[in-house]
Amino acid sequence: MKKYLLKRILLIVPTFIGITLITYLMVRLAPGDYTTLKAGLQGELRAGSVGMEILEQERKLYGLDKPIIVGYADWLGSFMVLDFGTSRKDGRPVSTRIADALPITLALNIITIIIVYIISIPVGIITSVKKDSAFDRVVSLVMFILYSLPAFWIGLLLLMYFSGGEYLNIFPLGGIMSDWAEEPGFWRKLLDIAWHLVLPVVTLTYGSFAFLSRYTRANMLEVINQQYITTARAKGLSEARVVFVHAFRNSLVPLVTLMATLLPGLLGGSVIVESIFSIPGMGMLAFESILARDIPVIMAIAAISALLTLVGILIADLMYALVDPRIRLESRI
């Protein structure tokens, strides 16, 4: 077991280098670089601000004239000592920019996951128990439809109809917080943030109910048909005990391992939702940085996502193996 763990951890290193190197390569090779943004913003150029000397000088300043391998090595070296560099856009440390955007995305994702779990699991359990009933069929249909609705469309519609001044004016037009003259009390602030997050969270959650509820349902079904359930029933246990204590417990395992794979997703913001609701999260940060060729930020995000994904996979595999002795670790490489 220990040997396996060690082997897997060691294997993370080359994978990580592979991912970050490829990312760096792509961004360096991409046409245009940060210096071109000095010329002006979208569409309008300031007279005299486009010129080769200007850009070459800037390029040297940012180390973009060094060959790719050197550039990558520099970055890797800094990364090892946790120096993420400074963002090209505003000169602030990358860690600060990420620290600004991360809590927002984290909060959104955690709330989303909680809500999805709270709704999907009971639904999954119930539909597995009431298999093929009208309830099961209706729920399946609803879930299915929700799954097929494109998120950006729904987000737009929600924004338009529930917060625009033209129709219903229940929710704010975006952002995380309202403008406060003085710092409000803790609860007020929390309520305000919650109010702002309702629409984005709805947009993020509705599509995921389908998968998780079906997954739960499938696992429950598998377990319910097992012998020990029949035994439990024969022993005269109440239906509730049978379902919750025995069946559900045993189908928990895949659910928990599923959570491990959610780890990397936690830090990834949805560019689309953030764009529609003007939320300054990780998604917008990544998107803007790609457009601006802000290499330090892009690399930091890529590196962190990669690490988390790799760790997430490792944990998931470990849990799988731990929980189901039938699966041999070696074969899961």
Partner: protein, 327 residues
């Protein structure tokens, strides 16, 4: 794989009414995509005047080139397609108008007929869906097959590689590659194809690992059959089922990705109409131009739903366990 198996699959599938409905919609979309120039065109199917007959939709005679045959001055017998506008013709007098008797779906920011653009948008969706998925199914099968069949060190290396690609947050990866090559219809298809193969590869690899040790494979080997023959004749057809299901769902998700990319401005280039692109342009007029938001969104929804229904239907009918259920 005997034809009996597939026949029972088809029978199973046709019993699932929703799946069949989905399939019907998919076929309809296909037809619309192929027949787009015949559905929405400013040129008539047939034009008879001064004793000669021509079919402007297919070929515009030299003297009429550049002329708008819809005008009253062109007398004679004219038969027009149901939507009398081409997808790129603009009319600056008719900017952002609601649906009416002339423009069935209204117009966009340049006075272009939305119905015509929706019809042509089908082409983009279908094209991207099929080609991207074909690309990644091919890649996935090859990679998965090689990894699964040979096992050992080959498998370890390839699995590492699969892991690397899976680790990239997909959207991020797509955006980065598109920044590298420049967004366009072709690059979007290729990029989605290059990033989506991992699940297929894993499925195929899994199947191969399982089936490697199955009896008839061992028997074939004992009989001296070559590797690739075994792969082609025995293993692949068995793995086809889950691949097919995954691919169908893949088309739905590809269409979603393409619309999202176009929505962000990173997809298809103007003036090629893409539903996602129309949606993104509708943002500015959200407060009054409901047709620009509702119609393309609904189209995307219906398309994705149909593919998902077909996928579900395939999954149910291909899964031996559920076949038993229905008996």
């Amino acid at each position: 794989m005997s034809t009996g198996y597939w026949r029972s699959v088809i029978k199973e599938f046709s019993r699932n009414r929703l799946a069949v409905a989905g399939l019907v919609v998919v076929c309809l979309l296909f037809l619309v995509a192929i027949g787009a120039p015949l559905i929405a065109n400013s040129k008539p199917y047939i034009y008879v005047s001064e004793g000669r007959v021509c079919f402007p939709v297919f070929h515009m005679p030299g003297d009429l080139r550049g002329k708008d045959l819809r005008k009253k001055e062109f007398t004679g017998f004219k038969l027009f397609p149901p939507i009398r506008y081409s997808y790129s013709e603009y009319d600056l007098d008719a900017i952002v108008l609601p649906p009416d008797s002339r423009h069935y779906f209204g117009t966009d920011e340049q006075g272009r007929d939305l119905a015509a653009r929706m019809v042509y948008g089908t082409r983009v969706s279908i094209l991207v869906g099929f080609i991207a998925v074909s690309i990644y199914v091919l890649i996935g099968i090859i990679i998965g097959a090689v990894a699964g069949y040979y096992g050992g060190i080959v498998d370890i290396i390839i699995s590492r590689f699969i892991e690397i690609v899976m680790c990239f947050p997909t959207f991020f990866l797509i955006l980065t590659i598109l920044a590298l090559v420049g967004p366009s219809l072709v690059s979007v298809m290729v990029v989605i194809g290059l990033t989506g193969w991992t699940s297929i590869a894993r499925i195929v690899r899994g199947e191969f690992l399982k089936l490697r040790e199955v009896d008839y494979v061992t028997a074939s080997r004992a009989l001296g059959a070559r590797d690739y023959w075994i792969i082609l004749r025995h293993i692949l057809p068995n793995s086809l089922a889950p691949v097919l299901v995954s691919a169908t769902f893949g088309i739905a998700s590809t269409i979603l990705i393409e619309s999202s990319l176009s929505f962000l401005g990173f997809g298809v280039q103007p003036p090629t109409p893409s539903w996602g692109d129309i949606l993104s342009q509708s943002r500015d007029f959200m407060d009054f131009a409901w047709w620009l938001t509702l119609i393309p969104g609904f189209a995307i929804f219906i398309t994705i739903t149909s593919y998902n229904l077909v996928g579900e239907g395939l999954q149910d009918s291909l899964d031996p366990k559920s076949v038993k259920k229905r008996v």
